[in-house]
């Protein structure tokens, strides 16, 4: 089964894609970590030296070397980020709708027909997809976890840049429980949202409403993403209980969501994600075997996997460029707009690269 040329081809692209994602996420996490160490040290010094100061309204603070470190705590900028976040999501949804329309063509149906005409057990296609998507999702999680000593979970969370940007709003975010609670709720919500989609998808497959499945961009990848978030939670747990975990303030600063999630929700989250995902994969397998191939041909072109990765790439690209370019280089009113421009270019570059790579796998569906 594993020496089949179809699997070898899929595996090759799965490894290339996971390597690319690993590089992106490692650099992303390292960058975060670097940021956090500098800024948190500065913050600690600031707090220690200025305990009676009100931090609101501070645009810059001075570090040990006398350098001004920019801060976003201005409501205007905060609103800008919210607008950018919302725009990114709207643009992503727009792209998704566009792809949904343009990709629903005969090409995928024909490729599916070609595959089904081959003398191969039909369930191999399912197993190959699960294995390859599993590699694509889990290899970067594990690599990032052990290289950067943090988790890959933020890649899922970063689908909502809102969460990433919140931490820049003001230093209080990291100390005031109220805001942390909001973040942690969102953190819990997002991976479970994948599960909701996955369950909906299976219900739709059962009822035979395949086209509706497209509309809510559901599919097995979502199930696997849910599964992956379970793995991320496990790694989270491992990091918490091991010597390699990093300074709690740093962790909070890097990914405040993870810390909260780990302490409050980790146990039920892990169990829930793992068990449900596993059950969904198994149910999916039997549904796949029982369902009509003409419908599965449509569903298993897995355009939805495209969409999810496009959106993730778009937003990740946006967030990375946004942070690196906008925050590190400059921070004044005018540069916000140049930052937006750069972010859009970065996003589209990420989008094109991801699309090109993913199309290699999609064409083997």
């Amino acid at each position: 089964m594993l020496t089949n040329p179809l699997f070898i081809r899929q595996l090759k692209y799965a490894l290339i894609i996971s390597a690319v994602i690993s590089i992106i996420t490692c650099s992303y996490s390292l960058n975060e970590s670097y940021d956090a160490r500098i800024i948190t040290n500065d913050l600690i010094e600031y707090f220690e030296g200025n305990t009676n100061e009100n931090l609101h309204g501070i645009s810059y603070y001075v570090n040990n070397e006398g350098k001004e470190i920019p801060y976003i705590n201005d409501m205007f900028e905060y609103k800008m980020f919210s607008i950018i976040s919302a725009s990114s999501i709207i643009i992503s949804v727009g792209i998704m709708i566009f792809l949904f329309i343009s990709y629903r063509d005969e090409k995928y149906k024909n490729t599916a027909s070609f595959l089904y005409s081959l003398p191969m057990p039909r369930e191999y296609f399912y197993i190959y997809k699960i294995l390859c998507f599993f590699i694509v999702v889990t290899v970067p999680i594990i690599l990032t976890a052990f290289i950067t000593k943090t988790t890959f979970k933020p890649i899922i969370i970063s689908i909502s840049p809102y969460l990433n940007l919140l931490e820049y709003v003001s230093p209080e975010n990291f100390y005031f429980e109220l805001k942390n609670d909001i973040i942690s709720e969102l953190n819990l919500f997002i991976p479970n949202l994948f599960l909701i989609f996955a369950i909906l998808n299976l219900l739709i497959v059962i009822s035979g409403r395949i086209y509706t499945a497209y509309c809510i961009f559901a599919g097995m990848p979502l199930t696997i993403l849910a599964f992956a978030s379970g793995i991320a939670n496990f790694i989270d747990l491992y990091l918490q209980n091991s010597d390699i975990r990093i300074n709690i303030i740093n962790r909070q600063f890097i990914f405040p969501t993870i810390y909260i999630s780990s302490t409050q929700y980790i146990e039920k989250n892990v169990i829930f994600n793992f068990i449900i995902s596993f059950v969904l994969i198994v149910i999916g397998f039997f549904l796949y075997k029982k369902s009509k191939p003409e419908n599965l041909g449509k569903l298993f072109t897995i355009n939805c996997f495209n969409y999810i990765l496009y959106i993730a790439a778009f937003l990740m690209g946006g967030v990375i460029f946004f942070r690196i370019i906008l925050f590190k280089v400059d921070l004044n009113g005018s540069s916000i707009f140049s930052g937006i421009f750069i972010m859009l270019i970065g996003s589209f570059l990420s989008l094109i690269i991801t699309k090109t790579l993913i199309s290699k796998i999609i064409n083997i569906e």
Binding site: N110, S117, I364
Partner: protein, 295 residues
Amino acid sequence: MLKINKITKKFDDVKALDNVSAYIKKGTIHGLIGENGAGKTTLLQIVSGIYRQDDGKILINNEPVYENNKIKSKIGYVTDNNQFFPYYKVKEIVAFFAGIYKTFSKDKFNALNKILNVPDNKRINQLSKGTKMRLSLMLNMSINPELLLLDEPTSGLDPIAKKEIIDMLIDEVEKNKCTILISSHHLSELEKLCDDITILNHGKVTYQSSIESIKNNVKKLQVLFEFEPNLSDVNEILKVEKLGSIYYIITKKYNEEIKEKLIQKGAKLIEEVGISLEEIFIYTNSKKGSEYNAD
């Protein structure tokens, strides 16, 4: 070789195939004719094991096809939508076929490629429609299939390539006793190539016969009547067309009995004229023809 027994297939509420039956003998070429949407491609997809029929049976060498890899490995399926994997190079898809089909012969592929000239370093999405079709034919013939299913195989091909492919198919049947089920709109080609034909109309078989039987039985008559005839009670008539005072009558058979009936209706002159498969197709798919089930 291939038994299609009362096949029915529905897509949502649309009946693509309705109680279709056919028997295809080993080492013969069977043509499948029908308008667009008649159900030809669906039938080929069911025979190739892509789709599962809702009702009825498909047997190849007395074994069902669907999810039967042993049987599927003996079937070549060439469609006019030859996408394969668009990013593969030709040599990669050749290696892929060699990995999937144990009976694949690289030597045969190379020999066929000497005739059809498909560049092996190009990606499939860079090939023209005609070249993709040639590639698909070469790949599927190289697996040495017992049953070769061809869906519009000459679509997009130039006349020289068409002739080469028709010659290759005839050669394949003669040398390897391969059975071919071919669907095409080029009826003149089918007429030369096929041993038998099946005409489909809206998912139903409207005519099924051997080419030889068609030529012996179905006749086109040129008749001059003394007065306006009423031919509705002559059951053998498939179609009547009037051109001036001359009547063109298509009959599913022509013998002395029919001739006598026509004379009684006032026929002064009766003359047989040639009829092509295309005309038979048109007449059997016309309103009256669709009510007729031959053989």
